[in-house]
């Protein structure tokens, strides 16, 4: 298992916090409880199941005041929440893998209706080949349909980000659904020390709930929700365009809001997480590796060792994957000459990792050529070890002087 290092708190303000030991799925459930949703809808699927079991138990024990709907499938899970959100509820669910695939029809629509639903994706590789283990293939497959998607590195970050996700989603400049992605197996079942925020302080952080001011199904404010638009000309297409443009604007606004919310979180609770992109030992680096999610812990250890060995390497971690934080990435990319990108999923169309593919787009905007290559590892539950990252570092180092290979490097193929 990768080491899940708890960030050293950059304590700016003391807060009343209980320290507990729990797995990532329980941490997510505790974060949900602290955010006080009105409704959760659940359907079990590995490796998400213990998360919704924890939520159900919190409600059963009276530690969480929410209505829980045990729906007959993920498609209805998200549909129940859409209805509840349109009636003014704060809403939450979690899923992964085939469940997310089954949910896709309402999933696509959630962003278009601008419903601030929060959903954890306890990431799982895509089937087939049959597998029930972790991987980012599920979340990556749905990265292009208007949900904000953030990836957590540690169990503590899972808890804190789950709470922050509600505030980001419900921000009036955003009004979009948010996925909090936590790596199946590594974060879902990884147990670590967690600081539990105080409920009253979370309440103060969250502020007043106001989720259906913009669209509602309410007899006191009768309106037709989602009437037909589009067509070949006239008012129809322009109406559609304005809705779509609004979604894109909300996505872009979320970059600023994610930063603001993380800053407020740091101020109130003393834990500071890089909101969009984390630069790790990048100053003085000639080249860097790029990571996503829980693999980053092992990668940082490898960077530390490489630095001690005199290699001029740093690390760029993406937290906010959707919308793609292009400006923050360009700022980091300006510091280096070569890049190796490690994905935990594949992009079938480009024969590389999806994050690498996205980076290629961002690098074009940099205005200078940065040699880069794609590494694919950690599929279907495989561990990406410090040793793997040393191989990544070595291969990336060669890019500074040698031509980049056309093929991706597949980690875990023979080890």
């Amino acid at each position: 298992m990768t080491t899940a290092t708890v960030e050293t708190p950059n304590q700016t303000k003391p807060a009343k916090q209980k320290v507990i030991l729990c797995e990532g799925n329980e941490a997510a459930a505790l974060g949900v409880a602290l955010a006080r949703p009105d409704m959760v809808a659940v359907y079990p699927i590995t490796p998400q199941s213990s998360l919704v079991e924890h939520v159900a138990k919190l409600i059963a024990d009276g530690r969480m005041d929410a209505d829980i709907v045990d729906a007959e499938g993920e498609h209805s899970v998200l549909s129940v929440l859409q209805g509840a959100a349109l009636a003014g509820a704060r809403t939450y669910t979690a899923t992964c893998g085939p469940g997310l695939a089954f949910m896709f029809e309402p999933y696509f629509r959630t962003s278009g209706m601008r419903l601030p639903i929060v959903m954890s994706i306890v990431t799982r590789d895509g089937i087939t080949p049959q597998s029930v283990w972790g991987g980012h293939q599920d979340a990556m497959t749905v990265r292009e349909v208007g949900w904000v998607q953030v990836y957590c590195e540690t169990v503590q970050e899972v808890l804190d980000t789950t709470i922050m996700a509600f505030k980001i989603a419900e921000h009036h400049d955003v009004m979009l659904p948010v996925n909090v992605c936590l790596d199946g197996n590594y974060l879902s079942y990884g147990t670590s020390r967690v600081e539990l925020p105080d409920q009253a302080e979370v309440d103060a952080f969250m502020g007043v709930k106001d989720v259906n001011w913009h669209v509602a199904l309410d007899p006191l404010r009768p309106m037709a929700v989602d009437p037909l638009t589009g067509g070949s000309g006239g008012k129809g297409p322009s109406t559609f365009v304005r809705y779509r443009k609004g979604q894109c604007r909300g996505m872009q606004n979320s970059l600023r809001v994610i930063e603001e919310v993380h800053e407020e979180w740091a101020q109130r609770f003393g834990r500071r997480f890089a909101p969009l992109v984390e630069e790790y030992r990048l100053d003085g680096a000639d080249y860097a590796i790029m990571t996503l999610g829980s693999m980053t812990g092992a990668a940082k250890d490898a960077i530390d060792e490489a630095r001690e060995a005199g290699k001029r390497v740093g690390l760029i971690k993406i937290k906010t994957f959707s919308p793609f934080p292009v400006e923050a990435l360009l700022k980091a990319m300006n510091k280096i000459q070569a890049l190796g990108v490690v994905d935990r999923s594949v992009g079938f169309r480009w024969n590389c990792g999806p994050m690498y593919q996205e980076m290629m787009g961002a690098l074009y905007r940099l205005g200078r050529h940065v040699p880069s290559m794609s590494f694919i590892g950690g599929l279907a539950g495989a561990d990406i070890t410090v040793g793997h990252f040393h191989r990544v570092i070595e291969a990336t180092e060669k890019l500074v002087t040698n031509p980049a290979p056309a093929e991706p490097v597949w980690l875990n193929e023979r080890d």
């Binding site: 709907v69 209805s76 809403t91 404010r221 129809g236």
Partner: protein
Amino acid sequence: MGRSYNTIAFDAAKCDGCGDCMTACATAKTGSEDQTRSRIQIVGSADDGFELALCRQCGDPKCVTVCPAAALTKSTESGVIEWDAAKCVDCLLCTIGCAYASIALDAGTGHVAKCDTCDGAPACVPACPHDALTYITTARIYNEVGDWEDLFAPGLAGCQGCNTELLMRHTLRRVGPDTVLATPPGCVPGMGSVGFNGTTGTKIPVFHPLLTNTAAMLAGIKRQYKRVGREVNALAIAGDGGASDVGFQSLSGAAERNEQILFMVVDNEGYMNTGMQRSSCTPYGAWTSTTPIGKGSDGMPAQGKTQDAKNLPLIMVNHRCEYVATASTAYMEDLYDKLDKAIEASKVGFAYLHVYSPCTTGWRFPTDQNIEVARKAVETNFVMLWEYTPGAGLQFTRPVDDPLPVTEYLKAMGRFRHLSPDQISHIQGKVVENLAFVKQMVHQARA
């Protein structure tokens, strides 16, 4: 609004032929207890029961038409056919004109006599010891519902002759404005209920769910209002395709969880809005655009749908919903009774109303025949009208004792024009089988 009038209704099942009503009428009108002078006559019927000979105060009275002296007129005020002694020439033509033997010679006066409803307080009604007579307002729906607010826009873009508009207006009048309406893709939003480009056809909150998730979305809405202590009806008006096929999972799930929803299916037996394709509710043998007629291959001609329809309402009964009923727009009073019950049931749990709704366009019949086709479906037992509650089980609400042959229904529509004798006999056989199946459930409920 127009006018409708009161009338004296007779329930033959309650009458034991005692004659108290006739005595009361004779006393009130002649001062004698001579029952032959009563204007209400109870007579023996062919099945050893009793029939009623009493003026119906017809809307198109034949007695008035045949009267050469204009002595009989229908009052626009009360609706009563009034007789004017000063004008009557005692020709008795009216007694021949009346089909109900309800105007007759009164030997005591030498003139005809008929019921005048005792100026709105008929003496016969309270005299009946068995409540077989009631004084009721006719056209109850017209009178009661007509004054309620129509919650749909004046114009809707349905096909000519479609009765779904009728259904939508009646249903929304009844459920009222404290309702959230879901109209999944199909004819109902196709008619403009959710609207196009900023205009809407509905005066209450309305939305397009997906074709697949109507019941789930409504469940979320209803639960949230319940959570905050507000009473809001959650109503779906959905097509049969979205309910029985791709949306069945969410429907079944919501029913199993007993969500407090009223789910109405408008069953036009196919995907009519999108081009008349086959659904699992399409009956055997029917032409649709995906079960077309053709010469086929290997001597096996294509002759419409090759499977029988899924019986969705019976499947819903097996969810043990709070209320399940079938209804038809040819039987609006029955539909209204069921709507009332379904609304009440949906305050407790899942209520399901399955309304058979002929499609002029997709079933291929003249646009003025919609109600007739709906009626024929019931009169042949092709469609059965029943209701279910967990307490009372399954009960027929409009049993058809002497059904017409199913060909009377089939021949009314172009979609069955191609049927072979074998196919017709298959359909007739299924009608008999389905009736037997439902009767068995009714008997079980009674046992």
